[in-house]
Symmetry: C2
Subunit: 258 residues, 2 copies
């Protein structure tokens, strides 16, 4: 008798295992298969693709019910992926990796600082169809309920259409009422960069320390970008590649005379 | 009377300000302009594009001579860039960013874990011509002296030819005797991924902890890759782009029906 096994879905994030966003994503994911959550024990925002190999890692299981196991890793989102694939899910084929829902936008150059998207890129490098979701609202108490139907829809279409092995998705949702969302836009990464400020303060024993803050610029005025889409109430769906080679410059570089 | 000012060159790395590699790179850089070194206070290997905004940053100057200032930042390589541009070099135009020389290869997917290359990508995002150098030898005591002439040559050609604003360079040097190096190859990023292992140990009070280690696979057999070049005694010069959009998949994604 043929056995039908449900797809195995790995859920990760960078806001930590207790964030509202990953709970909402997990609820949607459970409609599509057996879900295993392996996420950082606390916020790892802005940790990008960092990995931990100079210090030991620890992890432990926190929850177990039919079709759902939850683990927390004392490390980065990419550490969480590696612990999942090397140990927790060792020898099992992961059919889908979902990351998020991030509390805050991952459009434009935020993509490269994002731990949420680093987990997605790591999945893609390992041949797993991978999608990252972000709600463009930094509020830690956001209500993700209204956006779950869009997340469902994207997962549904991704499973039906199959992402190629070298492409993953960066989905950004505008933080507006569900009925104000105008639909999906397939976008490119806006070429804006962060404008930082460093605020000096003085500690109780008189030594300076600095807080890094900033805002994303709006240098790129294109109407085909992820930034434009989110600002204009569309859900941005950006295909992301893991090959960073600048092919368009190879011929010119060959002419440098090196 | 016209004033000729020397180019301003920012030198960063991820192995920390005291590493041999950054000292060698600084010596070469000083032939081309006024050098400011702003580097992490200790090793930040594998920290990728991580930034510090949930904790304060600190930094201090450690050395000052004519044409050379050295600062150490208690943070990641990208933090070092941000401290340099927001404070140390505030209002000054950086003409060139050099990162490295990394103790270890940054070919293939190592590029995305690398703090050395993250500083380069950050420079590029900010419109600065940026080059990362790595010696494919993890030995912390490598002798960089034999490779300085190649670093000189690449900087010379980069300054003469001018990198476009959206492209930076990832240079990897094979760890062989100078006379065995066969020349430069313009390469693409090999599509190999890391195969990790997680080794469990038990701490003195009986709790498990894990060491993450691994090796880079050789799935990509192409002879036009950075990996192939370094393994065959060529210096790999890879043009890297900061736009991660998978343009080749946009039309297909539009046909998903979202």
């Amino acid at each position: 008798m043929e056995q039908h096994t449900l797809p195995l879905i790995l859920v990760i994030n960078d806001d930590g295992v207790d964030a509202n966003g990953i709970k909402a994503l997990t609820e949607v994911a459970r409609h599509f298969g057996n879900v295993v959550v392996v996420a950082p024990s606390r916020s790892q925002s802005g940790k990008s693709h960092a990995i931990t190999f100079s210090n030991p890692l620890r992890y432990r299981q926190t929850y177990h019910s039919a079709g759902l196991k939850v683990y927390k890793v004392h490390g980065t989102p990419v550490d969480a992926f590696k612990v999942a694939s090397c140990d927790i899910l060792k020898g099992q084929k992961v059919d889908l990796l979902l990351s998020g829902i991030n509390h805050g936008s991952n459009t434009s150059s935020s993509l490269i600082y994002s731990g949420t998207m680093a987990a997605v890129i790591e999945g893609c490098l390992n041949g797993i169809p991978s999608i990252g979701f972000s709600l463009a609202d930094n509020n830690g108490h956001s209500d993700f309920e209204p956006y779950k139907m869009f997340v469902y829809e994207i997962i549904y279409y991704a499973m039906r259409n199959q992402l190629p092995p070298d492409v993953c998705l960066n989905v950004n949702i505008p933080p507006v009422a569900k009925e104000e969302i105008l639909g999906y836009k397939i976008t490119r990464q806006a070429m804006n960069h962060w404008h930082e400020e460093l605020e000096m303060r003085t500690d109780p024993i008189g030594r300076p320390y600095y807080w890094l803050s900033g805002h994303l610029g709006d240098e790129d005025k294109g109407e085909d970008t992820d930034e434009w889409a989110v600002r204009n109430n569309y859900i941005s769906v950006q295909p992301v590649q893991v090959d960073m080679t600048a092919y368009h410059y190879m011929d010119k570089l060959k002419m440098w005379g090196l």
